[in-house]
Amino acid sequence: MHSLSQRANTIVCFGGIVLVGVLLLNVLSRAFFSDHVDVDIKLNEIHRFNTQRNFEYSFISIDLDANLEPLFNWNTKMLFLYVTAEYRTKQNVLSQVVVWDHILTEKSKANIHEKRLSKYPIINQGLGLKNNTIKLTFNYNVVPISGILTRHQVGTSEFKFPTTYMKEAY
């Protein structure tokens, strides 16, 4: 009844149950934290817009104002921030391309006011960007220390590509 193995087994099982309980509470505690953030995003400039054979490419930069401090709580390991360009062409009913991303691990750097952010080009499959409306969206992925991954979308703006390609200025 009270052998060492019996006691060890009880301790391990009870410990496991307690850990699961704590994890559940941790996940549920998210409900008590505000996840409202203010984001303002807009196009800064189209730097390049041209075509090669059968596809188009473009480099743009964006202005971003975002206060993400409310997203950091005791279970937040990091935020993955990314800005997507979203559009439709004849070839694809929906295209989404990341134009900028960033990994945020410190709350002290979560108040962002940046101009001319740029990281990835927009490379379209086929043609169809000329005179097309592009929707810019700010998104973030909350990666907790442990638990459920969530993605959120907040803040959008639109811009239009010109009707002609830009001359390359190297």
Partner: protein, 179 residues
């Protein structure tokens, strides 16, 4: 001679019916584990509902040894989602993030991925000549994770002797316990 054998064999003092019962109990444990796994597969819709992260390509979101829970729900793929995909001819699935997506009218996808900790996208990881992933390559979508729990699996994979030793100890323990 028979006395010597009796002393050497630790099981000889246990009645045969109890050994049979222990074997049945062991079988029940194995069957229960399999049922849980298969149930999890059905619930999640993924062929591999739990995977261990093996590389550091998603640091600092995931480290080696983290345990991921996967789901293969219906619904559109969107940029930013973390997916687990398998490349034809390669054994180990890869956990990366969707960087670019093109959706066709018929609902098919061209998907490109990238590890957060990598400098370039994954075209170099795909099969030679392959430039896009499609839905068929994706075996799960990451929904949640536990840190470090998968280290046990990694250690047992790196040191097979440890695995056999643990199985042996477990078997002896189960079979020799009296009830």
């Amino acid at each position: 001679m028979n006395d010597i054998i009796s002393k050497i064999n630790p099981f000889s003092s246990i009645p045969k019916h109890q050994i049979a019962q222990q074997i049945v109990n062991f079988g029940l444990i194995v069957a229960t584990a399999l049922m849980i796994w298969k149930g999890l597969m059905i619930f999640s819709g993924s062929e591999s509902p739990i995977v261990v992260v093996l590389s550091g390509s998603m640091i600092p979101a995931f480290f080696r040894g983290d345990l991921l829970y996967l789901n293969m729900e219906d619904g559109p793929f969107r940029v930013g989602e973390i997916v687990v995909f398998k490349i034809e001819g390669k054994e180990i699935p890869i956990v990366h993030r969707i960087l670019q997506i093109h959706e066709k009218e018929d609902g098919l996808y061209d998907i490109r991925t990238k590890g957060d900790n990598n400098n370039v996208d994954d075209v170099g990881l795909y099969s030679p000549g392959q430039r896009w992933l499609s839905r068929d390559h994706i075996i799960g979508r990451a929904k949640g994770f536990l840190p470090s729990v998968g280290m046990v699996t990694i250690v047992m994979h790196d040191y097979p002797q440890l695995k056999f030793f643990l199985v042996f100890v477990l078997a002896v323990f189960v079979l020799s316990t009296r009830e």
